[in-house]
Amino acid sequence: MNSAQNLTEMLDVREGAPADLVLRRATLLDPVAGIDGVHDLVIRGGRIAELAAPGEADASGAEELDAAGLHAFPAFFDPHVHLRTPGQEHKEDVETGTRAAAAGGFCGIIAMANTSPPIDTGADIAALREQARAQASVPVGFAATVTVGMKGEELTEMVELREAGAIAFSDDGLPIQSARIMRRALQYQKLVGLNIALHEQDMDLSAGGVMHEGPVSAALGLGGWPSVAESTMIARDCALAAYEKARIHVQHLSAAESVEVVRAAKAAGVQISAEASPHHLCLTDEEVRSLDPRRFKMNPPLRHESDRQALIAALRDGTIECIATDHAPHHLDEKEVPFEQAAFGVTGLETAFAALHTELVLPGVIDLGLLIERLAGGAAPFDLPRPTLAPGAEANVALCDLAAEWTVGEDGYESRSSNSWCEGKTLTGRVLVTVAAGQVAFRLRSFSLGVAS
């Protein structure tokens, strides 16, 4: 189904001027396209025109950036973002959420449907797409719910939703608790085609849970949300997907047991893709000892170090093909309450690259090329073109300074919410410029054009 060449064929963005840009002497890295070296990256009319020898490109009529010492990557794609509109615009909306995405180096995102009310009609999708065309800094695709009102009882009008422009189906925020409804959705997928993204949680088994079940929850007296409440649901849905020859995308893997289930399902030929979030790759449940829900309460919860190591191993071997932020903005009023009462979720768009670069690449846990590959890996499971630096492609580029240090939150956020799990951390590596769907979507304010940073 990988027929689309440009993100904007399927996603919506505010139309602007196509970029004419020369990134002089940039260090390019696009492992999938086999690009690795110093070039002049030439963007003309919003497309990658040429990778010229350093200092050789003709920059006439184009904006010229001295990118010596800076890295240019294919921009990132996040298949799991909460834009909170309609209904919760005090947390985020299309404009602020896509600004946050652009600031994080993302050239495209998929917005989840668990809004208030949930996005379950063609009219909802049409209205959001119109908003995106007016406000979105980067291309956005909108997921629609699998079940009406996210109640898990009856399927939405999936064909109409697809025709209205839904990009995927997901009841994210909630699992599809009924195996019967899940099976029907997978049967109906044969008609609709679009992928189904799944939040996997046995609500009965995880009832009362606010953090990973283990020694830390025992010590804190907090309700445990056990790993097996995730892995057993994934196992169920793998079996159903195999039976119906359907395809599924598993969201925010958190547990070692879940990784094992996905790995085995892939080996058995099940059409399944999986994502992991930066916070699950960088943090463990030890953080919850602080009892700080603003940074450390999310769903699924932060788990044990052995789970984190299993996620990293899965990232390496491709069991997890993409990183997704699960950017979940919340107002401080919902976070400045005791841990058990606080809302689940943390923001992540603006810090994903810098945090993973700092926590995993710099210590040598994974190499930079793998990070870049996985940060753009979220497009393919949804039949969208993978961002690339290959000449001829639509320009989707993240220009980064790998040496820049910055303290998260110090200059505020592009997001309307400040519940970042990185709040107060000093990170190394920063996005300076993002080109998304051929348009300059973001420039760091302190990065003056034409001058090396």
Partner: protein
């Protein structure tokens, strides 16, 4: 010590100092006029979001015996009923410039959060299933009077550990004082991984004769979602502590309130080995000692939110690794 939020923030010397202070207050209780002027002119606020008899009454009486002015706020009948947030309630009470806020709340971490919002000293009188440090201190005080040092003593904590903040605080405090702790209860009521706190775990009363102290927990029906044991009858048959089980040398404790005939038999509660009323009496003097340690001899601190260094100094101190 600026706050008492978790027993983990107090070291062994700190515990001994509070208990020594409590001993001196026991003497005050034997006077005709059971009051000392230590906290005259200072204000203590008790803020209880959960029902309580022992803890609230003993903190209130402790404040009065130290001559503090007392404001008691209970969630029922206050603005909390009208949906006021904890943060706003604390800001309101802080405007009265209290020296201390004693808080009980149904959720873990509430006292720590309050400490970040007020310059007043904060005392955790129970936060969800997390901690109840003043209970641990009064229990150590009670045992110290009976047994002297706790080093090498064997203490069994029996019953519903999962829902018990008392179990957590007491486990930490008993171990800190040198005792060896065994947790005993049905597998469904022992939290997974709790043995990493350094205690033994068993699911049977077999072997309880080794215990110097048997500390029985209350079955906390109000915190249970769904059934954790098939029936109270089966629970009592397997875990009820009664007089037949106890040897003459063993001491019996219970934090109250007791479910007679469930976790413990009526005869056992009323037996001479039972320290239950001593625990209650200890609660008063230990809570006087806690307020004394936090407040006496310290200058009045500005308590309003954001008033410079005092507010920062009162930031959460517990459970946050440096």
């Amino acid at each position: 010590m600026n706050n008492l939020i978790s027993i983990e923030e107090v070291d062994r010397d700190g515990i001994e100092a509070i208990l020594d202070r409590a001993e001196s207050f026991a003497e005050v209780g034997r006077r005709d006029i059971k009051k000392v002027p230590t906290l005259r002119g200072r204000t203590v606020v008790t803020l209880f979001y959960e029902s309580s008899t022992r803890t609230s009454s003993s903190f209130e009486l402790a404040a009065k015996r130290l001559s503090a002015d007392l404001v008691s706020v209970k969630s029922a009948g206050s603005s909390v009923d009208k949906g006021e947030s904890l943060k706003d309630t604390v800001a309101t009470l802080t405007a009265y410039d209290p020296a201390a806020i004693v808080i009980r709340h149904p959720y873990a971490g509430a006292a720590q959060m309050v400490a970040g919002w007020t310059g007043a000293a904060v005392v955790n009188a129970g936060d969800g299933k997390h901690e109840h440090p003043s209970q641990a201190l009064l229990d150590v005080y009670t045992l110290r009077r009976r047994l002297g040092a706790l080093d090498g003593k064997k203490i069994w904590i029996v019953g519903d550990v999962l829902h018990s903040r008392v179990a957590r605080s007491n486990l930490i405090a008993f171990q800190l004082m040198g005792a060896e702790v065994t947790l005993c209860g049905p597998p469904t009521l022992i939290p997974r991984g709790i043995e990493e706190l350094g205690c033994n775990v068993t699911h049977s009363l077999d072997g309880i004769e080794e215990a110097d102290v048997v500390y029985v927990l209350r079955m906390q029906f109000e915190r249970m979602e769904g059934k954790f044991v098939p029936s109270l009858r089966e629970y009592a048959a397997n875990y009820q502590v009664d007089t037949r089980l106890l040897g003459p040398r063993q001491l019996l404790m219970h934090p109250g309130p007791v479910n007679r005939g469930v976790e413990i038999s009526g005869e056992a509660i009323d037996s001479p080995q039972s320290l239950v009323t001593e625990q209650v009496a200890a609660g008063l003097v230990v809570r006087m000692a806690i307020l004394y340690e936090l407040l006496a001899g310290k200058p009045e601190r500005p308590t309003a939110l954001g008033e410079g260094p005092a507010a920062e100094a009162a930031a959460p101190t517990i459970g946050q690794p440096a």
